[in-house]
Amino acid sequence: MQGAPTRLAVVPAYNESATILDVLRRMREEAPDYDVLVVDDGSTDRTAELAESAGAEVLRLPFNLGIGGAVQAGFVFASENGYDYMVQVDGDGQHDPAELARLTAAMDGDRTLDMVCGSRFLEQSDYRAPVTRRTGIHIFAFLLSRISGERITDPTSGFRLYNKRAISLFARDYPHDYPEVEAVLMVHFHQLEMKEVPVRMFQRGGGVSSISSGKSIYYMVKVLLAIFIGLARARPVVRPGDDAPVAATHGL
């Protein structure tokens, strides 16, 4: 094709009617070169209607798949519509569209990069998560840095920009429940290049996080299991021609 690269912002949203309009308005103001796709993850409120009324394309999942399944639907959409770049901007408003320029600049500035992650911890910021959560994040960061040999500070950040190679990889196979940490591992195993850039993030504007405090133990254990089992795989990433992940015969 000709002209500027095509860019898609995927906004996963589960019952985010309180914040979705604000996110979409700020996307239009701060990042007008991005098409916006809202993935409504089986919301029971008016998230999808609001997003449509604001002029966004909307994928309506028939029931709640969780963040991994919702974002993967975005990857499939981006891949099938031939987008050059895709960014994830959460529907709860914690990702600041004004910071998207930093991700874009990093990606445009280095052609070898396949994924650019917004990190809350690269610069001194006023981001204040509960101590337990920050401890968990730092444990994952330490593990992934050791495994990948790169410095990774914020492996749970979903604020990420992907190029075509990363899009096609994750459209094929994206982790299910809490995907961000495992996705870093997949990028490493698949020998894609990633880089972190500092970003500011907001506290959630409304709604309920997908990770409540009661679930955080489960989250830790599940992701740790995924990391260590991932290490034990001879070829951790499914490639075309391999057996499909789990037993479904075809990836999307």
Binding site: V58, R60, L61, E80, V246, A247
Partner: protein
């Protein structure tokens, strides 16, 4: 082995086998899931009827009371069956996720066509009556 224990074991194994076969006959149970059940039931039946074999097995794994060996073996079958179902559930969950994503993508494509009728008409693969239908509102 006491006759009473043996009788109970035989009746239970035969009952299980008949029940599974009946479920398959009524198409309530797929053959592929029935196979493991039938294999388990048959093995237990053989061991219940053939006391000598059960004695050998019990001695081999160091169990003094042969009917206990029968329990251990049945327990093993149950574990295998449960794991088998976990596999089946994982596969179904994965397929379910893909179907949901695919459905959302197809619906989005349909809505886009309904919004721009000209595009739909140009597409020869879409028949006229499909296009002309008023958009169903969910």
């Amino acid at each position: 082995m006491e006759l009473r224990v043996q009788l109970v074991a035989i009746v239970a194994a035969v009952g299980l086998l008949l029940f599974v076969l009946e479920l398959v006959r009524r198409r309530r149970l797929l053959e592929r899931y029935a196979l493991l059940w039938l294999f388990s039931g048959l093995s237990l039946l053989v061991l219940a009827v053939w006391k000598g074999l059960l004695q050998i097995v019990a001695d081999a794994i160091g169990i003094f009371y042969p009917p206990s060996a029968l329990f251990v073996i049945a327990f093993g079958f149950i574990l295998v069956l449960l794991l088998h179902f976990s596999l089946a559930v994982s596969r179904l969950a994965d397929q379910n996720r893909m179907l949901a994503q695919r459905l959302a993508l197809v619906e989005q494509r349909m809505r886009r066509r309904e919004r721009i009728p000209g595009v739909a008409h140009e597409d020869a693969t879409v028949t006229a009556d499909v296009v002309e239908q008023p958009a169903p509102r969910s």
